[in-house]
Symmetry: C2
Subunit: 465 residues, 2 copies
C-alpha cells in the first residue's frame, strides 16, 4: 500500500523540480492513460488522493471526452468541492456533462457561498432546473445569496458562522462549541452579538483558548470589529482585509443584524482577480481564456482589435495630411514611427503606474496634482535625453542636421504629452466611474500616435520645406 500511495500522489515528496507543489505532468499522463483505457479502479485510486483544487486543475487539462469519462467513473466518489475552482469555460462544460440531478446533489454538499457562486453562472433556465431539484432550505439559502448584487459582500459571504452573546463565559462557550453539531466546519473567530444580533466584537480562537473558563467574552473580545454592509463592493472588502490582515469579518444587513461572514480564502481569490483584471483589461482582454474555444477567443479579442483599427486609421489620417511633405523628404516616413512608438512606450509606463496606484488607492484626489506634475517632468527629462540620442542618430543617418532637430523637438513634445495623457486619462475615467484599466489603452495610443505624427511631420513641414 505504501507504494501505491507514493505512486498515486501527484508527485514524489522529495521532488526537487521548480514546480514543487501542484500536479506533475507524469501524474496527468497516468490519469489520461487510465481514462483512455477505461481503468476505472486505477483512475479513482489516483484521483482520490488529490486535493480538490488539484482535481480542478487536472480536469482543466483533459479533453471533453476524458472529462465525461472521469465524471462518469467518479460519480459517487468525487469530491465536488472542485467545482468552484474550475475555469469558467471548463465549468460550463462539466455542469452540462453532469446533468441537473447530479449537479443539485453536488451543490447540496458545498458551502453556501460556493453554491451561490456556481448557480450565479448558470443560465436562467438551467438555474431554475437545478434549484427545483434542491431541498427547500438549501434552495432558499442559494436564492437568498443570489438576491444580493454580483461582486458585493452579500454574494461573497457564507451564512455559516458562530455568534455568541457577550455575557457568556469562556467555559460556557467551549461547552457550547463541543455540544452543538450544527456549526460550520471551520471558523477562526467568534462573533459576539448584542440581543438584537448586531455584531459588537470578535474573539479570536487563540485568545479564547488562552483565557480561564470563568472569563466573560465581553471582557476579552476585540470591540474594534470592522463590519461590512452586504452591499459593499468586493474590492472594498478586499482592501479592508489586506489593510487589517483580517481572517474573517462579519457582514450585516441594513438594520445592522449579523447575517454572514466573509473569510480570507474568498478574499485571496478576489485580490488575485483584481490585479489580473487590470492587467488583462489594459491589453483589451476580458479574461485569460486559456481554456476558451478558438471561436470565443477570436470573437472577444476582435472587438478590441476593431476599436484599435479605428485609432490606427485616425493616426493614418494625420499622416495623410502631410503626404506631399513625405513625398519631398522620404526620410520622414522612415523616422516617423520612432516618435510615435517612444510616446506609446513612455505613456504605457505612466498609465500602468496610474492604473495600479488607483487600484491600491495610492493615487487619490489629494495627491493627484502632485503626481501629474511629476509625470510631466519625468516625460520632459526623458524626452530631452531621447531627443538628443534620436536627433544624433537621424542626423548621422540622413546627413541633415535639421532632420535631427525636428525629430528631437517632436520627441520632447510627444513624451511630455504621453506622461500627461498616461495619468490624466486613467484619472478622468475613474472620475467618470469607468474602469480606468478597461479603456486607458485605446485612448492613450490614440493620443501618442496622433501627437507624435502631427508634431514630427508638422515641424518637418515648417522647417524642411
Amino acid at each position: 500500500m505504501a507504494d501505491h500511495r507514493l505512486e498515486a500522489s501527484p508527485q514524489a515528496p522529495d521532488d526537487e523540480s521548480a514546480e514543487v507543489f501542484g500536479l506533475g505532468p507524469d501524474f496527468i499522463d497516468m490519469v489520461v492513460e487510465g481514462l483512455d483505457n477505461d481503468h476505472a479502479a486505477a483512475v479513482s485510486r489516483l484521483v482520490s488522493t488529490l486535493h480538490h483544487a488539484d482535481l480542478a486543475d487536472l480536469i482543466e487539462r483533459l479533453s471533453r471526452d476524458q472529462r465525461a469519462r472521469l465524471l462518469e467513473m467518479g460519480r459517487d466518489s468525487l469530491n465536488y468541492d472542485f467545482l468552484p475552482e474550475l475555469d469558467e469555460t471548463v465549468r460550463d462544460e462539466v455542469v452540462e456533462l453532469m446533468g441537473f440531478a447530479d449537479l443539485a446533489a453536488a451543490l447540496a454538499d458545498l458551502d453556501s457561498d460556493d453554491a451561490v457562486y456556481i448557480v450565479e453562472n448558470l443560465g436562467q433556465e438551467e438555474r431554475d432546473q437545478v434549484l427545483a431539484r434542491l431541498p427547500g432550505d438549501q434552495r432558499m439559502a442559494i436564492e437568498h445569496g443570489l438576491a444580493f448584487e454580483e461582486d458585493t459582500a452579500g454574494r461573497l459571504m457564507q451564512r455559516e458562522l458562530v455568534a455568541v452573546p457577550s455575557y457568556w463565559t469562556v467555559g460556557e462557550t467551549i461547552d457550547y462549541l463541543r455540544s452543538n453539531a450544527r456549526l460550520p466546519d471551520e471558523f477562526y473567530q467568534l462573533f459576539v452579538v448584542d440581543p438584537r444580533h448586531r455584531p459588537i466584537g470578535t474573539v479570536r480562537l487563540s485568545r479564547l483558548l488562552r483565557c480561564k473558563r470563568p472569563t466573560r467574552l465581553g471582557d476579552i473580545m476585540d470591540p474594534n470589529v470592522p463590519v461590512i454592509a452586504s452591499t459593499t463592493d468586493q474590492e472594498d472588502v478586499a482592501f479592508l482585509f489586506r489593510q487589517r490582515d483580517l481572517l474573517s469579518a462579519p457582514v450585516i444587513d441594513p438594520s445592522g443584524r449579523l447575517i454572514g461572514r466573509i473569510t480570507i480564502d474568498d478574499i485571496v481569490d478576489v485580490i488575485d482577480e483584481e490585479a489580473e483584471d487590470d492587467m488583462l483589461r489594459m491589453a483589451g482582454l476580458s479574461e485569460t481564456h486559456v481554456y476558451e474555444t478558438v471561436y470565443k477567443t477570436t470573437k472577444s479579442r476582435f472587438l478590441w482589435l476593431i476599436v484599435n483599427l479605428g485609432t490606427a486609421v485616425l493616426a493614418s489620417l494625420v499622416i495623410g495630411l502631410f503626404e506631399s511633405t513625405i513625398q519631398q523628404v522620404v526620410a520622414l516616413a522612415v523616422l516617423m514611427p520612432i516618435v510615435a512608438s517612444m510616446g506609446g512606450n513612455a505613456g504605457t509606463q505612466t498609465m500602468t503606474v496610474a492604473v495600479r496606484a488607483l487600484a491600491t488607492r495610492e493615487l487619490a484626489a489629494d495627491n493627484a496634482l502632485r503626481l501629474i506634475g511629476k509625470e510631466a517632468l519625468v516625460g520632459l527629462l526623458n524626452g530631452v535625453m531621447l531627443a538628443v540620442i534620436s536627433g544624433a542618430v537621424a542626423w548621422a543617418w540622413f546627413g541633415r542636421p535639421e532632420i535631427g532637430l525636428v525629430i528631437g523637438a517632436a520627441m520632447v513634445i510627444n513624451l511630455v504629452g504621453a506622461g500627461l495623457a498616461g495619468i490624466l486619462i486613467p484619472l478622468g475615467l475613474e472620475k467618470l466611474k469607468v474602469d480606468p484599466a478597461l479603456a486607458s489603452g485605446v485612448f492613450l495610443t490614440t493620443v501618442t500616435d496622433v501627437v507624435g505624427f502631427f508634431a514630427f511631420l508638422g515641424l518637418a513641414a515648417l522647417v524642411l520645406l
Copy 2:
C-alpha cells in the same frame, strides 16, 4: 469622549462614499493642520485611533518635514507596526529620520518576520548599526532570518509558533495554552510534532475547541500537512496557500525539523505583488514608484525607453529598405503604421494571456503545443477579418484595389506572426529561466514592427511597382 472618538475616527461609520474603508481626505487634512501648527496633543489623539496600516498610508501622504514632526511627536506613543507597511522609498526616509536607537527599539516590538523584512532593506552599514543596538536574542533571531535567501520561505516565516506532541490530550493542550505566557500573540492552528520535532500533522483551533478534553491530538490532527522547505521560493509557497486555502503552514529545515510557520497575511502580500510585478514588468517598470523621486523615476524608466528606441530604429531600418517604393507610392507611408500597430495590439493580447497563464501554471509543457496552435489560429481568423476591413478602407481611400490587397495580405501575415510571437517569446524566456514578463514586451514589438513593415512594404514593392 464619544464625540472625540467619532471625530478622530478616519471616517464617520455611516460614510456612504465609494471609499468605504481607509483614510478620508478630511482626516489627512486634520492631521496636516495639527502638524503644521505644532498641536502635539491633537495629532497624537488623531493618530492613536488609527490601525497601523492606515497610519502607514497617512505617513506616505505627508511631506518630509511633516513626517519628521510626526515621528518626533509620536516618539513614545506610535505603534511601529506601520513600518513594514510603508512604501520602500518612504520607509528609507522614515528609517533615516528615526535614527538607529529608535529603530532598534521599534524592531524589538515587531514579529520576527517583520523585523527581518525591515533590516533586509537597510544598507550594510545601517544594518550593523541597528543590529548592534538590539538585545542579543533578538539580534540572533534577525540574523538567523537574514541567513535565508531573499524571496524564500525562510525569509517569510515567523519563528513564533505553537508545537505540541501527538500524545497530548485536548485538555492538556488547553491547559498548556492557558498557562504558557511565551506563546505567539495569534495563531490559527497547532503544529503536532514527533519527538525529533518534525511536523506530522496540524490541529485547527476550531477542531480543538470542539473535541472533548480526553481526546488525543494524534486522533484529531490532520496528517495531510504540506510542509514547506525553508529554501522554497515564495511564489511556490503562495501557489500552495492559494491552492489549498491554507491559513498557516509549517516550515522545516533540511533535516525536517520544524523551524517556523508562514501565515496567510504574508502570503496575501506575496500574491498581490506577484500579479502586480507581471503587470509592471510588461510595461518596463520595476516598481510602482508613486512616492519615488523624479530623478529615480526618470532613471529607471529611461533604461527601458532606450531599449525600445533600439527596437524602433530597427523597425525604421526595415522601412529604409523600401525608401524608393515609398517615394513612388506615398500612400504606403500613410498606411504602414496600421499594419504594425494591429500586430502589436494582437500580440500584446496573446502575450498578456501567456504571461499570466505561466504565472498561474495554466500554461505548462503538457499543453503548450495545443495553445500555440490555438493562438496561431486565432491570429489567422482575426487577421482575415481585419484584412477585409482594412483592405476595403485602403481601396476606398486611395482608389487602388491593389493597395487594399497588399494591406490585407500583410495584415494576415502580421497577425499570425503576432499570435505565434506572443506565446513563443514568453515560453522561450521561461525555458531560459528569465522572467517572461520582464522581457516579452521588447521582443514582441520588435517582431510585430519588423514583420509588419517588411510584409507590407515588401508586398507593395512586388505588386505595385
